[in-house]
């Protein structure tokens, strides 16, 4: 007889393993099935390895600018890519073990194999050629996503790569062409440049980081240019061919670029093709399994979380959805509607939560915008990192905090303050009333909030128009 569980989770990434831990904590019997390594994209080919590599690159960047802080380096500072890679691999190993330990502590049964839905409540697990079936009262799909590739392009993995391969490169390229100026493209550009790689980004849309505040994208583009990272925006790649050991790209603006490696970072697609959706009558919409706020799919007792439902392709969003799905599967009533921050680990860092000014205007909200440049901030000067600003979007009508957008030193750590405020449905006045430590970068959130209320103290007074009233 096949083994039965209260809950089966397919996929051991940050959505799936958190869902399994939550269900285990709540006393359910839980199975989790993972075909590769625990930790999913985030831990193995995403957040964690990229941050580990970026840390080395950022240190190089600091060494290159150390003289400005009075630190003189005698001799040559050089990066050892092999050591950088092995340090990253150690971190991944440690964290994988951590996830495994956590699952064991919650008595979650781990199946290493490829799972497919085999019928209502039935999951077939294939491992080393043999298949076993387990049954579960509720199933949580947490199958994640993989990097998209461009159909028709050369597939030589030594030259044309996605982030999956690039994070584990054995050698550095000399000239790198990054296709797509989104988060992954920008982080890679930032990582490669201090290590001596010549980087060019080509983005089809009119700005880098197309989903983020336009002013932030403009500043990042400018900073990149200063470092020698070239960006072509509103530009398509008409063709990409392999010529010898290099790729040659013809751009829609007439330029021809040659690079010894190409990183395709044009987005990710859901990993739902081989999960057996049809066995239980579940259909996908462009690959995504759509869900409601309770993470319920159109089929009873089947939930879907994380990248695979297409709501928000971020690890922390998947984890939050995992908790919601687990609780709902066990009879509670939760919705996933908390604001989700986003973070970009370029240097300077970028972070945001809530609506951009553009999005708020499109929704027809009357807004006021608060702005505070980090060049005015003591902490930013002290750490010699004054590029950046904070933008606060306030609903002029009801005073609500609609969004906070930051670019600058360490802002991914600061966005938590803004996210907590959003979660608590704070007004901008609440933000301005909060006392933040000095000197910190976080202070700039309060300053920008005050500016949105036209009450900033550390900025010159706002311009005031004097108008005669009309008469009717």
């Amino acid at each position: 007889m096949s083994k039965h569980f209260d809950i089966a989770v397919i996929g051991g990434g940050p959505g799936g393993y958190v869902a399994a831990l939550k269900a285990g904590q709540m006393g359910a019997s839980v199975a989790i099935i993972e075909k590769g390594h625990l930790g999913g994209t985030c831990l193995n080919v995403g957040c964690i390895p990229s941050k580990a590599l970026l840390a080395s690159a950022e240190l190089m960047h600091h060494f290159q600018h150390a003289a400005g802080l009075g630190v003189e380096l005698a001799g040559k500072v050089s990066a050892n890519w092999t050591t950088i890679q092995s340090r990253k691999d150690t971190i991944i190993q440690t964290l994988r073990g951590g996830v495994k330990g956590l699952l064991a502590a919650r008595k979650v049964t781990l199946y290493q194999g490829r799972a497919a839905l085999a019928g209502p409540g039935q999951i077939a697990i294939e491992q080393n050629g043999s298949t076993q079936t387990i049954t579960a009262s509720k199933t949580i799909l947490a199958v994640g996503s993989v990097p998209s590739r461009i159909p028709g392009w050369p597939t030589d993995p030594a030259i044309v790569c996605t982030s999956d391969e690039a994070l584990h490169w054995k050698t550095l390229p000399k000239k790198l062409l990054i296709v797509g100026g989104g988060v992954i493209g920008c982080e890679f550009a930032c990582m490669m440049q201090p290590l001596g790689v010549e980087v060019t980004i080509v983005e089809m849309l009119p700005q880098l980081l197309p989903n983020m505040d336009g002013q932030i994208a403009d500043l990042l583009t400018k900073i990149f240019r200063k470092r020698g990272i070239q960006s072509h925006v509103a530009t398509k790649i008409e063709s990409l061919t392999i010529v010898g050991q290099a790729a040659e790209a013809r751009l829609s603006n007439g330029t021809t670029l040659s690079a010894d490696r190409v990183l395709v970072a044009t987005g990710r697609r859901p990993n739902t093709a081989d999960v057996g959706l049809s066995a239980i009558g579940l259909t996908a919409d462009r690959g995504f399994v759509r869900v409601n706020d309770r993470m319920e799919t159109s089929v009873k007792d089947i939930y879907c979380i994380g990248d695979a439902n297409g709501r928000c392709l971020l690890a922390h969003a998947a984890s939050a959805q995992g908790v919601v799905a687990a609780e709902n599967a066990l009879g509670h009533d939760r919705t996933a509607d908390a604001p989700v921050p986003s973070a970009v680990y370029t240097f300077p860092e970028i972070a945001a939560v809530g609506l951009t000014a553009e999005e708020a205007r499109a929704k027809g909200r009357p807004i006021s915008i608060g702005f505070f440049p980090l060049s005015h901030l003591g902490k930013a000067m002290a750490v010699a990192d004054t590029d950046g600003f904070v933008k606060v979007v306030r609903d002029r009508q009801d005073g609500r905090l609609l969004g906070v957008h930051m670019i600058g030193h360490n802002v991914t750590e600061c966005i938590g303050t803004a996210t907590a405020m959003m979660q608590m449905k704070a007004s901008v006045q609440d933000v301005a009333d909060t006392v933040l430590a000095h000197p910190t970068i976080s202070e700039s959130i309060k300053e920008a909030a005050e500016d949105a209320l036209s009450a900033g103290l550390h900025l010159p007074p706002r311009k005031v128009l004097r108008l005669a009233g009309g008469v009717a």
Binding site: S368, Q397, M424, K425, V464, L465, L467, G469, V471
Partner: protein, 513 residues
């Protein structure tokens, strides 16, 4: 009377009223700033275009207006009345704005137009107030006498109401669902909206800006104000100051946060524990507070209030019934004394573990009613009542059935200590509660169910008593357990079987090891 409007300016295509520097009734002079308006990244000060008295503010603070929108009515002094109709002064980019159709009239026009209030009819001798169920016409509509214009609901009936006068429906002051005393205005007929403000002001009330927004409505203090007005201490920029949790709970309970007293969060922010369990009836009279004859008064703490509300909800909405059983406590007592030598444990811990095991056999005891559904839980999360100064709180021992007796004991101690320190673990996740007054020597008592659970077990002291066995009396030890159960989920026979099974285990407790 001239109406001051927002001038056109490319820097300020629309703005939100930030602050009125002048109040109604104050004199204003031409060129003097009367109001501050806020744009996306600019502030503007708007000057009066005439000398006179500010008669009426039409755009209250917080309202967003676009160019040419009326801001205020000014009673012009005679000397400046004439130029008022002429182009506005030079500091303003455009010439005088065109009067918006039907919005306001030039200063030179005749006295204010006719305003006819439409009132809540008195449709019966005993009718004192009515609920406006639904408007059938929208503001701006032309109404003829005899048209059915809205529906009302009284305590007895639902009926349609016909217009007794004809004209243009200028403003609705009682929105759908609002309740008001009979013969009080629910709307006004007028050709000119500004006249309605003047009319209401002349009746001694402030002009409600728009009936559509409850917050704005609540600001009105005129005769037409709804029976339960918003609490200004709670409303900030037209929105209740409340945490997301409180908003969510209020939404599910149908409670308007703006009508609640100030909350216990920072700055009076309403937090989840401040939200009452049921929406207060807008019409329910408060019980008269008797004159305090020598008594002292003190405010209940938020926690006491929350506990009190929960208890009332339980006893008023859950049909409780009680089953009592006395068991031979000698084996239990002996077992407890033997185990206690090995690790710290109490009699209550043994009862908790026994209950956890029995609950797994009886689904109704781990079920809850939620609307018209029954939710069945798979684990025995057991609440353990902990007495505190402010009342009883119930932290929860998760999945108690999986624990060893030693673990039940240590976990119960830990969650009780945490509860006394202010952290109530697992609140809301319990399926069953155990309350024990044995340590006070209480023989037996009946407890109130901890909603949304389906039952609670009250344990008395394990006392020495004369027991009769096989016709002979002897000294023994007994313990009485009283089950309070929700009769919607548990019937008498089931309650008896549950207690019977529990008795079986407690009279042979070594099965718990």
């Amino acid at each position: 009377m001239p109406t001051i409007t927002l001038p056109q300016s490319k820097d300020l295509p629309a703005g939100t009223i930030r602050r009125w520097r002048k109040k109604a009734g104050q004199t204003v002079s031409k060129g003097e700033v009367i109001v501050e308006v806020e744009g996306e990244s600019i502030l503007a000060e708007i000057e009066s275009a005439v000398d006179g008295t500010l008669a009426q503010i039409l755009a209250p603070e917080g309202q967003t207006v676009s160019a040419n929108a009326p801001l205020a009515v000014v009673n012009a002094d005679v000397k400046s009345a004439a130029p008022a109709a002429a182009p506005a002064p030079a500091t303003s980019a455009p010439a005088a704005a065109m009067p918006a159709a039907g919005k306001a009239q030039p200063a030179s026009s005749a006295p204010a137009g006719t305003v006819i209030p439409i009132v809540m009819p008195k449709a019966g001798q005993s009718m004192e107030e009515g609920m406006l169920a639904k408007w059938l016409v929208a503001p701006g509509a032309q109404i003829r006498k005899g048209d059915v214009i809205f529906e009302i609901e009284t305590d007895k009936a639902k009926m349609e109401v016909e217009a007794t006068d004809g004209g243009r429906l200028s403003r609705i002051v009682l929105p759908d669902g609002g309740t008001i005393a009979v013969l009080q205005p629910v709307a006004y007929l007028a050709d000119n909206d500004a006249d309605v403000d003047a009319f209401i002001a002349s009746q001694g009330g402030a002009a409600p800006a728009a009936a559509a927004t409850p917050a704005a409505q609540a600001g009105a203090t005129g005769p037409a104000a709804p029976t339960a007005p918003a609490n200004p201490a709670v409303v900030e920029n037209g929105r209740a100051k409340a945490s997301p949790a409180a908003r969510k709970i209020a939404g599910t309970r149908g409670i308007d946060l703006t009508r609640l007293p100030a909350g216990s969060g920072p700055g009076g922010r309403i937090i989840s524990t401040d939200v009452p369990l049921t929406a207060p009836s807008a019409t329910a009279a408060r019980p008269a507070v008797p004159a305090a004859a020598g008594g002292t008064r003190r405010k209940m703490s938020q926690m006491s209030k929350a506990i009190a509300r929960n208890l009332s909800l339980s006893k008023q909405t859950i049909p409780h019934f009680y089953v009592r059983m006395t068991i031979n406590a000698e084996p239990l007592f002996a077992f407890y004394q033997a185990e206690k030598l090995k690790y710290p444990v109490t009699l209550n811990d043994v009862v908790v573990l026994a209950c956890a095991k029995v609950i797994l056999e009886f689904a109704a005891f781990r079920s809850q009613i939620a609307g018209d559904e029954v939710i069945e839980f798979q684990t025995a999360n057991i609440g353990v009542a902990v007495a505190m100064d402010e009342g009883l709180v119930v932290p929860v021992l998760a999945s108690a059935e999986r624990l060893t007796l030693a673990k039940v004991s240590s976990e119960t101690k830990r969650i009780a200590a945490a509860a006394r320190a202010g952290k109530i673990e697992g609140m809301g996740t319990g399926v069953f509660t155990i309350t024990n007054m044995g340590m006070y020597g209480v023989e037996e008592f009946a407890a109130i169910i901890n909603p949304p659970e389906s039952a609670i077990l009250a344990i008395g002291t394990a006392r020495e008593a004369v027991v009769v066995k096989d016709g002979a009396m002897r000294a023994g030890r007994v313990m009485t357990m009283t089950l309070s159960a929700d009769h919607r989920l548990i019937n008498g026979a089931l309650g008896a079987r549950f207690l019977g099974r529990l008795k079986e285990i407690l009279e042979a407790p070594s099965v718990l090891l």
